[in-house]
């Protein structure tokens, strides 16, 4: 990597921060290539299976008559949820002036953008005729009839579309001054690309003054999205009349779950990132402890929601509701439901112990279990409610086929591949903000 002259004459600590952070963007090592190769293969498998599904029709997925929403919708909700803590960390913690945000915000913003890209694919994968997905977009069809704005699926288009656009702008705006730094350390075509991406940023008082106001407002605009987007996603379910879905608690319950799973994913991504790139100086154990506390807190909210859901079903004396929740905890999918409670409610309780919060290996294991648990939560909510609704005549069950499993794994491949490309091509930490706090 070119160690440019620009950084060396300046105060050492600033130049050192730049060098340490930009070192990540050097030549890829074996571990990176192996990881990216593995992720690319997974993504390719997912892509081939999707092509197969498009060719053969949705029959190759494991949908049965009562269960018409399953793994694909689970993945959609899971990935949208993952996106949430990115906004929480970058926008909400910015408004609260939480300093530890600087260690995670770039990684979290990147995660938000990539998770939404993956999430956006799943409603399309779930369609029988994926090529007519544009029917969902608000445009008048040949007969000048517009989309039905009373449908939660259209709300999704607006909510997720807005979320993606705003997150992308926020992600990019945060990087503008960093691109100006990065171009200084690079040569040739990469220098030119970073220069163009920096838009000609020089750091004048005029630029900083407007930039500070822009950043504040983008954070303020993004903050309500943390609550609104997953609320809208939850209404995809809550607007129906299905027992187990039709409940007012869904919006806050889903929002808490989204932040919970997203925080876990940030921890899953940043622990290996910090180790691989030697960023211990900038992302400290204290920072991880703070974020572990957010995870613990949201876990308690999620647990409380489980208690309220079951409590209502038990005390409400509505036979359909009672049966739906009896089936959820003791029916065909009971092992998944128990695993969900173990991962989401019990394991995170150990984070009350300070020593465990500060143990990186342990934290990584907890975060992986939470990711598994939150995926299972969505699966359990979606599938058990559909499989076992009002009329025993239509009760059924469901198990995913290799196509669904493969496409789901492919989505993880796509997410991790995008993430690895991000690590090699964009500054992984906010250089200017770190310099500000030095």
């Amino acid at each position: 990597m070119n160690r440019g002259e620009g950084g060396m004459e300046t105060p050492d600590r600033y130049a050192k921060a730049e060098r340490d952070i930009l070192a990540a963007m050097g030549k890829p090592g074996k571990a990176w290539l192996a990881g990216a190769g593995f992720a690319a293969v997974l993504m390719l498998i997912g892509g081939v299976l999707w092509a197969y599904q498009i060719r053969e029709g949705l029959g190759v997925a494991g949908y049965t008559h009562p269960v018409n929403w399953a793994v694909y919708i689970t993945n959609f909700v899971f990935w949208v949820g993952i996106a949430h803590s990115g906004t929480l960390i970058s926008a909400v913690l910015f408004l609260f002036r939480a300093k530890f945000r600087t260690s995670f915000n770039r990684a979290a913003e990147a995660m938000t953008v990539f998770a939404l890209m993956v999430a956006g694919l799943f409603p399309i994968v779930h369609l029988g005729r994926s090529w007519v997905f544009y029917y969902l977009l608000p445009y008048p069809n040949q007969r000048q009839l517009w989309v039905n704005f009373r449908s939660p699926l259209i709300w999704d288009v607006f909510a997720v579309g807005t979320y993606f656009t705003v997150s992308l702008v926020f992600f990019y705006v945060g990087m503008i001054p960093d691109f100006a730094v990065a171009q200084r350390w690079k040569e040739g075509i990469r220098k030119k690309v970073y220069k163009v991406l920096s838009l000609g940023w020089k750091g004048t008082d005029r630029q900083w003054r407007h930039y500070a106001m822009l950043y504040l407002f983008l954070a303020a605009f993004a903050t309500p999205l943390v609550a609104s987007v997953h609320s809208v996603v939850s209404w995809d379910f809550a607007m129906s009349i299905l027992p187990g879905w039709h409940t007012t608690i869904f919006a806050p319950y889903f929002v808490a779950g989204a932040i919970f799973s997203g925080t876990a994913m940030v921890i899953t991504l940043v622990i290996p990132l910090r180790k691989a790139l030697n960023l211990q100086e900038y992302v400290t154990d204290d920072h991880f402890e703070s974020i572990a506390k957010i995870m613990l807190f949201t876990s308690l909210i999620v647990t409380y929601s489980y208690i309220v859901e079951f409590g209502l079903a038990w005390y409400g004396e509505n036979p359909f509701e009672t049966e739906a929740f009896r089936y959820r905890i003791a029916g065909n999918f009971r092992y998944l439901a128990w695993a969900m409670i173990f991962c989401n409610s019990l394991v995170p309780l150990t984070l009350f112990v300070r020593k465990l919060r500060r143990n990186m290996a342990y934290l990584l294991i907890v975060s992986l279990l939470v990711n598994v648990g939150m995926w299972l939560e969505r699966f359990v909510i979606i599938v058990t409610s559909l499989a076992h609704d009002y009329d025993p005549y239509v009760w059924g069950t469901y198990s995913p086929t290799f196509v669904e499993v493969g496409i789901s794994l492919g989505s993880f491949g796509m997410f991790f591949l995008l993430y690895l490309l991000f690590v090699k091509n964009l500054p992984v930490l906010s250089i200017t903000e770190i310099k500000e706090h030095l």
Partner: protein, 145 residues
């Protein structure tokens, strides 16, 4: 007294800025270049608050208006009752208007920033002038734009 002063350290830079203002250099003629945002410098130069905030307000307000206008007018252009809901169903339309408020507000704020900060600047992209991590005070002869 046009000129350029370069500092390696934030505190020295702020001191230099204070001295310049005390010596009677009109703050309008002072330009600074810093590696990160220094809000104290803004206060010394008594710059007003950025006008980017008006773009935020304008964008957000137009988003709310557009959200309601879009949903109501398109529903009325072919009044079709779906699911027994009224043609103009305000509660679901609020969700659309809310999303567009945020979307238009964020995009308009970003556009306002680009406009006010003079970005993207092709001249600056081509130029190789670079002050690295130093803090620079520039005093211009003419009042800068």
């Amino acid at each position: 007294m046009p000129g350029k002063m370069v500092y390696k350290d934030k505190d020295a830079f702020l001191e230099g800025l204070r001295t310049a203002v005390r010596d009677g250099v009109p703050p309008d003629r002072i330009r600074t270049i810093t590696p990160f945002d220094v809000p104290e410098a803004e206060r010394i130069l008594s710059r007003g608050r950025s006008k980017v905030r008006f773009f935020a307000l304008l964008g957000a307000a137009s988003g709310t208006a557009a959200g309601f206008a879009f949903t109501i007018l398109t529903s009325l252009s072919w009044p079709l009752i779906v699911g027994g809901k009224p043609i103009v169903s305000i509660p679901p339309f609020i969700i659309i208007a809310f999303a567009l408020t945020i979307l238009f507000g964020a995009l308009s704020t970003f556009a306002g920033f680009l406009l006010l900060a003079g970005l993207p600047s092709p001249r600056a992209i081509r130029s190789d002038e670079d002050h690295g991590n130093r803090f620079v005070i520039l005093v211009e002869e003419e009042e800068p734009r």
